[in-house]
Symmetry: D2
Subunit: 346 residues, 4 copies
């Protein structure tokens, strides 16, 4: 079978690196085009020596008009705003687009509140929100996919079974998330300077992070339940991983056992969601490098509440891995093709 | 002025190490006696090479009867159960006792639920709970001090102003805490083996940690408010530090500014509590090695709730530092003597 | 094509975990048998939750006599001494054996100096030393392979081209190696307790490490040159990776360019050795999780010396990865099958 | 006694932070002036929240002419080139100057080779090289002190007793150094971006680091021995600490015991150099936060060589701590005043 031809716009960041980690050995994909504005002219192996011997493509500047005609799919790993412009230029061409940025995740109304003006609001309704566990059927025919945010993925997968079963009490939900530093990208800044981050934990954007409205919108759209998420992200001294501890109130008392059964049933056919046994709570290190979301649950029937602990690798299930999963679905490949590798522990 | 003579029972753990870091250069204290059962006969500098040149005492086995007569104060850094027995043997002697363990922190009733039988329940009412910001006056004449737990210190200092002002809504409060690994002590185990902990975050004892009832009891005792704390501790790949993110409901709407003013006023004479400016949230690295508790606050008047972020060094304000602070108060020294050093950053 | 059936004796350590990471998705291998004495009766996914969904085999106790008859190959990840005994019991069966321990790496004479009595000295000459870059042809027909030590692999691959070309001056060579903590295994001890290792570097077994004679013997055997290696291993606060900085004296002046050309030519057909461009020196993070050895070189013609910097992932090219590479060669598979995946960065 | 008045030029980096950690609680010093060009107008506690409650000085722009008249001593923590210019402007004033930069460490001839033109070559001979273990007497009357480099401090203190006793064989010496990331300063760059450094070790500036000639010059000047140092620095994923493994050839065979005795005798009156017992090698974590240099030694009489392992905290004995030690000597204070605190472990 002919391999499809794929390109990555914005290949020199950590998301680009992890896309290449999965796509270069992917049996059905050939990587033929890469851009990286500030490294244009260099080879990808100059920017990422770990890829030496795997890929030697020259990095092109970002210019949607100069995109090769023969690409079947393009991944956008660009800053917000930038990808919307690129999508505007590419949308009429015969190409599938997977946007790993924020530009097509939110409704137009909410986008403008959190990000400002949108360059192509008319395209927003065309984008399919790329959590396969929610939108698998619609993804099969999607032309444009809005890859989900990393924090929202961990929180939404933790809430979905309760949301779908209408067991969530509307109102305040607390999502206390802890992320490794790679989530902040590869551009140097004081906030991600080694000695500023190492040996410390801090909260940031308390109650003001742009991933908060994404969670609220998705839960509302797919379950009708109005949550008000108090979302506090924390920066943890490690490379990869997000752990979200989610505190919910339920509309009925449920034991841990009942909750585990519910989650087990909902996710039983999902390759990339694993439910932990009772009293076991996942570490981010058990999903490192992989496309899994592992979930542990504690019910508190007395207070009709529950605590859900969900972990992902932010660069994989939170970015590149789910993008490849979405591509597999869009292209009719086996959904786990190229992703079916065990996590790396330690 | 004569220096007081101090001893440490259980000197070979991380708490012992940090007690020595503060007590060896303390102008009013002389360390004259150390025990460490499994290292008895060695010198402390064999067990802790970093103390070479500061202290060369030989480690004695733990035997309360063999305690030198001339000690003025003794610090107990022992496993729970063990310190209660030692206190029982020492209580009739003319010596001040600071117990860094859990044996005298809880009421007898609650202790038995979480730890089992108490060896000396009659002594429990004699112990003063050692958070100086609560009990300074009573500590001045205390003979036996129950040093607080590390997690509870971070949570209680974060809640106190709201509790004292009767602004906390009774019922569920969420305390999501993140701790460095030194909190687990110095005994090797798979859970604290380097590669098991590094590059990962995990929750443990979800809703079942023994520090949960301590928080509830202290808040109830000192404010009359009945909280039900959903406490989830997390293990973070770093040596020192606890960050607690506390989600509370208030009985009236309060802005961030109003909350900061309230906290500023309550803690204005406290040397070791610092309130962060609006929109700033503390990192554990800004208190590393020091006796400070730094607090950041976000009010959410719309939902009558607030988020409090509090950080300490678990080995200092959460253990050894507050023990020295308590000793200073008990002995009539200047309260910050020997503790007035800046945090170490980075 | 029928998959071969493989077993791992000693599957619950980090080497076992990484063997499973490569073998479970390997297209030509089926894992059918695992032992782990202290976890016998549990499932591998209880011991390694990250493998949940990939392997659910029950762990057997270690008993060579109870080994299933239908195994084609068995990997031994056992303490030294233990594997020699097992090999003694299995050697007459129709099975290929890859020993990841130290029992068959050294000549009998040298073994007894460093390890004491050998249980089966008669088998030592039967073992092929498993560095494919040296012994590819002999490995094709090997029945018993002695997988090399992790430190020696990094040093030997760094020295080979100079040794083969007879450019190394006999006598003192310095190998200053830095290793991540996984090299010390998964058994808890104070030396690998998180807070003892984190935020510190230390040297250990200075001039006394058992990997020193392995380097000397291999270089002598395959090049005739008598080196006296001053080998100092250091423990670095990270999970994976070995970097060896090797200081050699040459018998003629060579520039960096000449050295790079020599190394490039020697390794040009080796899939898993990559030579860095001039002035670039490898980081262990550029081989993390992969089977590569990356090498950077600096010539110092004035003093007729050179500095070679070589990096591997100690658990992969230093243990499990090269074991799989050896298996591929022994079984007639494509040598890089199952190993052809990019490193994970970050 | 009146406290002396001290200023720091370039106070917003890690060296500035650690100078303040020691100087703010120093009994004989009052900090009255701070500059930080890019943060001019802010308070130091805005830049370093950990110093809140200790110092609230406003940061001035760097302008030597605007330096307050009443300063007794000034510390320069500036980029190379910058401090020479400042010294030029200040030298005629009645003020003591401690330069933590590189501008006055080398002879003019060597400086120009490694750094280019020197702004004030005439002042170079006025500067006293600030290793107290070498230059204590001359420091007592010094007006201008050239604080030593961090790497050279660790190597020179490791070599001194052998150099002074004329036991070092001239020619090649190997210094393989491992440094924490704080040595690279506080300015963000890709090289010190968290995920680039974490979980990896790399060599850099192999045989080309500017600290190499400093070591050679100092040994030659103070012992007459011509060494050619092959110096390879490595970056280690930790905040603080340098470990140097030094491989030397001796002009006679010496056992470990003889070497330890020699070192013990030479350093017996040095408060800040500690010699480890036989077979013990220091970890950087045993000097963390302190002004100590700890040294372990292994003799190899058979090859007339030795291995010396020396550790310091690069920000303390390698920068700020030794600067305070030098200030104490210059001002006639007790040499260890303000520095006599135990290391922080863990």
């Amino acid at each position: 079978m002919r391999k499809i031809r794929a390109g990555i716009l914005g290949a020199s960041g950590y998301t680009g690196s992890d896309l290449l980690r999965f796509l270069l050995p992917h049996p059905s994909v050939e990587i033929t085009f890469l851009t990286a504005d500030k490294h244009a002219g260099k080879r990808i192996s100059d920017v990422f020596p770990h890829l030496s011997g795997f890929c030697d493509l020259e990095l092109s500047p970002l210019d949607p008009k100069a995109l090769p005609e023969d690409l079947d799919v393009v991944f956008l790993a660009l800053p917000h705003g930038a990808s919307a412009k690129v999508v505007g230029e590419l949308y009429d061409r015969d190409i599938k687009i997977i946007d790993l940025g924020a530009d097509f995740r939110l409704s137009h109304e909410v986008y403008t509140v959190w990000y400002g003006e949108h360059p192509h609001p008319g395209l927003i309704p065309e984008a399919i929100y790329g959590i396969p566990e929610i939108n698998r059927e619609r993804l099969k025919t999607a032309k444009l996919v809005a890859n989900p945010g990393c924090y929202p993925t961990s929180v939404i997968l933790g809430l979905l079974p309760l949301a779908w079963e209408q067991l969530l009490e509307p109102g305040l939900v607390i999502a206390d998330s802890k992320s490794g530093v790679s989530g902040a990208g590869r551009s140097p800044s004081l906030d991600t300077h080694y000695c500023e981050v190492n040996e410390g934990v801090k909260a940031y954007k308390v109650g003001e992070h742009r991933h908060m409205p994404e969670i609220e919108e998705v839960i509302r759209e797919y379950s009708g339940i109005d949550l008000r998420v108090q979302f506090v992200p924390h920066l943890i001294p490690m490379d990869r991983g997000i752990l979200s501890t989610i505190y919910v109130r339920l509309n009925k008392a449920m034991s841990t056992g009942e909750l585990l059964e519910l989650y087990g049933k909902h996710y039983e056919n999902e390759r990339f969601v694993r439910i932990c046994p009772e009293k076991a709570y996942p570490s981010t290190s058990q999903v490192k490098g992989s496309n899994f979301c592992d979930i542990g649950i504690k019910g508190d029937p007395e207070s009709k509440s529950a605590i859900i602990v969900s972990v992902i690798d932010n660069l994989v299930k939170g970015a590149s891995g789910v993008a490849v999963q979405n591509m597999n679905i869009m292209m009719g490949f086996e959904e786990s093709e190229g992703l079916n590798i065990p996590p790396m522990f330690p």
